[in-house]
């Protein structure tokens, strides 16, 4: 399964490994899905992980970030979006769609409410689709992984 994951979800799973999102990181570690990422996606992730407020409160440092990035590079696949997508008001969420489309993703895992409210995202029964790529919540993703 080829998946784009919201960076915020990944950081939450890292900070609180016993939380409900933890299985996503564990399953990535076990190579149960391929994480699609771009340079900008990685940059965004690093920006969050560089926040002093998070580092101080949740006890992580540069070497921890390196350990996470090493895992992402091991289990992930870089994609290089060429065609900008602008269907959502949030540039970050447009970029998630660009990665998903370029990388032929099986799913985009997002908590982004803006994205799910975008008119171009078709609501199909309980799923939301963008160019036939399902946009799913973290909980749905974990159910999908089984």
């Amino acid at each position: 399964m080829r998946v784009v994951v919201d960076t915020g979800m990944l950081v939450q799973a890292l900070i609180r490994p016993s939380g409900s999102l933890e299985p996503a990181l564990r399953r990535l570690r076990d190579n149960d899905f391929t994480l699609l990422f771009s340079n900008a996606w990685l940059g965004g992730l690093l920006d969050i992980l560089a926040a002093p407020s998070l580092r101080q409160k949740y006890h992580f440092e540069d070497s921890d970030v390196q350990a996470l990035i090493a895992l992402l590079l091991l289990r992930g696949e870089p994609v290089f979006p060429l065609h900008p997508i602008a269907v959502c008001t949030a540039p970050y969420e447009n970029h998630l769609l660009e990665i998903a489309v370029t990388g032929h993703a099986s799913a985009l895992v997002t908590t982004g409410s803006q994205l799910l409210r975008t008119p171009q995202i078709r609501a199909y029964r309980v799923r939301h689709l963008f160019q036939d790529i399902p946009l799913i919540t973290p909980a749905a993703f974990l159910r999908l992984l089984g």
């Binding site: 960076t7 915020g8 950081v11 939450q12 890292l14 900070i15 609180r16 490994p17 016993s18 939380g19 409900s20 999102l21 933890e22 990181l25 564990r26 570690r29 965004g44 920006d47 969050i48 926040a51 407020s53 998070l54 409160k57 949740y58 006890h59 992580f60 921890d64 350990a67 996470l68 090493a70 895992l71 091991l74």
Partner: protein, 86 residues
């Protein structure tokens, strides 16, 4: 270890490279740049690197799990969103 050589192109060159102890080195401008090693050794190195990455990641999760267990998921989510500028 490093000596300028031509890239191995024949089966014999491959045999020589595979048997060579220490391995062949290729230089650029007098500085070592590439080492030719047997493919099996390359696979062993890759496996060792993978194990090291997974081991460090497992340690990281264990430590953060212990240190951050007291925080609720809602609190973490709010802090992450704030750090993202949301």
């Amino acid at each position: 270890m490093s000596k300028p050589i031509d890239p191995p192109q024949s089966p014999k060159a491959c045999d020589d490279a595979a048997d060579r102890r220490p391995p062949h080195g290729l230089e650029r401008d007098g500085k070592p740049e590439v080492v030719v090693i047997p493919y099996a050794a390359h696979l062993r190195l890759q496996e060792a690197q993978k194990s090291e990455i997974l081991g460090k990641f497992d340690s990281l999760l264990r430590r953060l799990d212990e240190q951050n267990a007291a925080y609720s998921e809602e609190e973490v989510a709010a802090d992450v969103e704030k750090a993202r500028g949301g």
